[in-house]
């Protein structure tokens, strides 16, 4: 089992530019069911993706792939033709908010936006637009979502993942890779890893993903990786204390970040004394979450949480 995506998830890609093409090829090689693309200027044509799969040599699975991906003008058309469940957005920042809204309006259940640098004002409008819709948005400015050996939607390196017992949710891409790598090394593996992104206004938050993992029978424990800025980690800690039935480990980046400076991610900023790492760590520890002192200790923190 897993959350959000699995081997049956049919995926569309919005924005088949250089980045979109690169990651579409990697996704297909990983085994993701890519069913089409939306890229208006190339509508009516198709693109062939072929090469060796990531599981070449594995018994019962294909060594190579060849997929002819149809390209559509609109999301409505693409969903009608393919019956896709999810879409991944690689559209450049000025147009990404529109792409997210178009995806939601077309009826896909899940939209994962990888694009970094979308204006906050655009995301405020997107969030308002999505409020009454059943569509779930993950991101923007995130690495995506992966269920190991089943479905990879996003830019994470597939090979570090391994099917297993732990759910991962994170605001940071590379720190997710650190956690995943350690879980794989420790033999714990992952059920699903979800990057919720580093922007101040995003779709799915820690709380939403913790809820999903809590209800997923295969997930035995969760690692949540936060950073300075906002109060999403504090809200998640409240949920863990009140309702979470599974052990949680965590890490918060930015203990040494100076106040008032944006640390790379648009959302990673301590302003007016709010959003500090210390406040988040305190809230998490009070909720019974095992907080790793450094990222190198995330895997062992999970082991400790699981053994409690």
């Amino acid at each position: 089992m897993s959350v959000l995506i699995d081997k049956n998830t049919k995926v569309l890609v919005q924005g088949l530019g250089k980045t979109g093409q690169f990651h579409t090829e990697k996704a297909i090689a990983y085994g993701t069911r890519m069913v089409g693309a939306v890229h208006p200027s190339r509508a009516g044509t198709s693109q062939i993706f072929e090469g060796d799969t990531d599981h070449s040599g594995v018994e019962g699975r294909d060594d190579t792939f060849r997929v002819e991906l149809p390209i559509y003008a609109t999301m409505r058309q693409a969903v009608a033709e393919t019956g896709a469940h999810a879409s991944v957005v690689y559209v450049p920042p000025p147009f990404a908010a529109d792409a997210i809204m178009e995806a939601a309006e077309s009826g896909v259940a899940l939209v994962i936006c990888i694009t970094e640098g979308i204006p906050v004002g655009d995301m405020v409008k997107v969030k308002r637009y999505l409020a009454d819709m059943p569509t779930r948005l993950v991101g923007p400015n995130c690495p995506g979502v992966i269920t190991p050996k089943e479905c990879k939607i996003g830019i994470m390196p597939g090979y570090i993942h391994q099917p297993g017992r732990v759910g991962v949710v994170s605001r940071s891409g590379t720190l997710t890779y650190e956690a995943v790598h350690q879980l794989t090394q420790l033999g714990l593996g992952q059920t699903t890893a979800v990057g919720i992104g580093g922007d101040p206004v995003n779709g799915t938050n820690f709380l939403d993903v913790l809820r999903l993992f809590n209800d997923d029978p295969a997930t035995e424990g969760v690692i949540m990786i936060g950073e300075i800025g906002g109060t999403a980690e504090e809200e998640a800690a409240d949920f863990v204390a009140a309702q979470m039935s599974k052990p949680v480990a965590g890490f918060i980046a930015g203990t040494t970040a100076p106040s008032g400076k944006r640390m790379g991610h648009a959302g990673a900023i301590v302003s007016g004394g709010r959003g500090t790492a210390a406040a988040k760590i305190e809230a998490m520890e009070a909720a019974g979450i095992v907080v790793a002192p450094t990222p190198t200790d995330m895997g062992t923190a999970m082991v400790e949480a699981l053994s409690r």
Binding site: P93, P94, G117, I118, P119, V120, G121, D122, M123, V124, K125, K127, R128, P143, I155, M156, P157, I160, S170, R171, S172, G173, T174, L175, Y177, E178, H181, G198, P200, V201, I225, E227, I228, G229, G230, T231, A232, E235, F251, A253, G254, T255, T256, A257, P258, K261, M263, G264, H265, A266, G267, A268, G272, G273, A277, P293, T294, P295, T296, D297
Partner: protein, 407 residues
């Protein structure tokens, strides 16, 4: 991106939002020449001379060269002495303020050089209020904050008397509603003309904040004049860097002299870099990992000299550039490269480092931790380079080694 007060007031005036009349001056002569038209236009013999820097606390700030001069000066000489007396006083003040270094609570001890003054008409103030518009992240919408405690630091008000801060969340589909403005006016004890003018002011500013893609608009103080007018006596604005592409007029207001040269250089190279006070330079891919690297250095007893995220798609030339920026910092006593290659390949990073070291030399210890895509190839490139590089097993091991070596 931040702008100066005079620029913020220009933007507000363009939207019909009430601000005092003012003239910007970068020389003593310009400052003196501003007095007569301001006094004649407003009919008020008082003018104010305000330092233009990107930092708050100017009124209480003092000049290093002239400790008896503050950052903001109200010139009353015109009341009795006429325009000439006001001009003489402005000349005296401007010659001391321009080119001098102003230290405020927000500038740090080194202060900031004042290159521009804003000469403004005097205002007959009845009350001083506070108003700001910024993002409330917990709801993903703008919030308008208002308080009767104008002129105070709002963080202090929030801490000591939180009930004195009024908040209205703005629905992005409709903007701030008249009933919300009325509720704020009531809470601020405004009535009659002042309440009507306040509603007009807040509505216009709230719409403008969305159109400008501002991160923060802070009017402190917002003043009620003796005749019931409402205007911005000060104006602080910051803009969403990601939205500047659609605001060339705002981008044109950028004052590069207010920005850290190393940070500016990094930005132009597509790198995310922030100068810090410590001695361990860091070169990392990914913002979260870069922050966590700083934390780990601190955890093992060191102090980071910078935040540096080369991003997910950096090439060897960008890595080399990042390396040069770090080595240019005289405080750096050791460098820690921490990479978890995903899309970014370890061999790309390794090639960039080797290129950079060959070009700029290496006078401090260097610890490199590589993990992820093409890690073996990356390690091999470093080994074969013959450079004096210490390899690390993991992030904590790397941080421990560089802190030890840099002692």
């Amino acid at each position: 991106m931040k702008i100066h007060e005079y620029q913020a007031k220009q933007l507000m005036a363009d939207r019909g939002i009430a601000v005092p009349a003012g003239i910007v001056a970068s020389t003593v002569e310009e400052a003196v020449a501003a007095v007569r038209p301001l006094v004649e236009q407003s009919g008020n013999p008082v003018v104010v001379v305000k330092s233009q820097i990107h930092a708050g606390g100017r009124g209480k700030g003092r000049f290093v060269e002239h400790p008896d001069v503050g950052g903001v000066n109200v010139v009353l000489d015109g009341i009795e002495g006429g325009i000439e007396a006001a001009e003489n006083r402005v000349r005296e003040l401007a010659s001391r303020m321009l080119g001098s270094t102003l230290v405020t609570v927000q500038t740090g001890d080194e202060g900031k050089v004042v290159n521009r003054l804003y000469i403004e008409q005097g205002i007959d103030i009845d009350r001083e209020l506070y108003l700001s518009i910024l993002l409330d992240r917990s709801v993903g919408r703008n919030v308008v904050m208002a308080s009767t405690e104008g002129g105070m630091e709002i963080e202090k008000v929030a801490e000591e008397t939180p009930d004195k801060i009024l908040r209205e969340i703005v629905d992005p589909a409709v903007g701030i509603a008249p009933f919300q403005c009325a509720r704020l006016a009531l809470g601020l004890d405004l009535s009659g003309d002042a309440a009507a003018n306040f509603t007009r002011f807040v509505t216009a500013l709230s719409h403008a904040a969305v159109d400008w893609d501002s991160d923060l608009v802070e009017i402190n103080p917002l003043v009620v004049t003796t005749d019931g007018g409402v205007m911005a006596l000060d104006g602080k604005m910051a803009f969403d860097d990601n939205a500047l592409f659609r605001h060339p007029d705002v981008e044109a207001m950028r004052d590069v002299s207010e920005e850290d040269p190393a940070e500016l250089e990094a930005k132009q190279a597509g790198l995310s870099y922030i100068t810090l006070d410590g001695t361990i330079g860091c070169l990392v891919n990914g913002a979260g990992l870069a922050m966590a690297t700083m934390d780990t250095i601190k955890h093992v007893g060191g102090e980071p000299a910078n935040f540096l995220d080369v991003g997910g798609g950096a090439d060897a030339a960008q890595v080399a550039k990042a390396f040069r920026i770090i080595t240019a910092d005289a405080n750096v006593k050791g460098i820690f490269v921490n990479i978890f290659g995903g899309i970014m390949r370890c061999d790309t990073i390794a090639t960039g480092i080797v290129e950079a070291v060959k070009e700029v030399g290496l006078e401090v210890p260097l610890v490199v931790r590589l993990e992820g895509t093409n890690v073996d190839l990356g390690k091999q490139i470093i080994r074969n380079s013959g450079l004096d590089v210490v390899a690390a097993e993991d992030m904590k091991d790397g941080a421990t080694k560089i802190v030890e070596l840099a002692k």
